[in-house]
Amino acid sequence: MAKLIDRGQLQDLVARGAQLVEVLSAKEYEEDHLPGARSIPLPDINRESAASLDPHRPVIVYCWDSA
């Protein structure tokens, strides 16, 4: 099960090489996203899109809020 992290933990993990993934729609990503994040909308998460991520580095997912 994924670990729940806060903003400070996110910043620490990213500084240590974690990959940030925004799972909102591509349009929402284009408007605003966290620095360095890549866009993989939830419906598009599959083996092909996940291949763009390094499986040996931590991955952090986020959306708009806690929903």
Partner: protein, 167 residues
């Protein structure tokens, strides 16, 4: 949405997946930078003046007024040691008796706004509610700066599409 994304990635073999539960809203409310189409557009947090004088509840009105005037301000924000906003002093409050404590003179618990609010939205709200100035704070109440209506209106004129898109 993000918990389902995390679960999906774990099923795909990722063993170190975290979920930033508070999400993009929390990030933006903290006044942190973003990338994307809206990143360069003026928002409450970018237009707010960061040099607004601050004071504590135990300061005296006269001292704060003198400091504010010396810095060419007619407003000040009362904060705690962590810069959490406690009150606002506009010209009327700063004109009160010089010996009065800020705690007695200030407007307690002023309405505050988050840094990510688009400037057109702020300009319209401040005009509609006759607010000359409003503190901009992070989601945990820390002062980012004081947004002046005049600044918001001026910036909004140059960015008529700076409004929030409902998500």
């Amino acid at each position: 949405m993000a918990p389902r994304a995390a679960a999906r990635l774990e099923l795909l073999g990722f063993t170190d997946v975290s979920h930033y539960k508070a999400g993009k809203l929390d990030w933006m409310a903290a006044g942190l930078p973003t990338e994307g189409e809206n990143a360069a557009r003026p928002r409450a947090g970018t237009v707010a003046r960061k040099d607004v004088p601050v004071c504590s509840l135990t300061d005296r009105v006269g001292d704060v007024r003198d400091r504010a005037r010396a810095a060419r301000w007619d407003a000040a924000v009362a904060v705690d040691p962590n810069r959490i906003v406690l009150g606002l002093l506009r010209a009327g409050e700063l004109a009160k008796d010089a010996d009065m404590l800020i705690e007695q003179a200030m407007r307690p618990g002023p309405s505050t706004f988050r840094p990510y609010v688009p400037i057109k939205e702020m300009a319209d709200y401040m005009t509609g509610h006759k607010l000359e100035s409003s503190p901009v704070t992070t989601s945990d109440g820390k002062l980012v700066g004081l947004l002046l209506k005049s600044d918001a209106v001026k910036e909004a004129e140059g960015c008529p599409d700076c409004v929030r898109k409902m998500i």
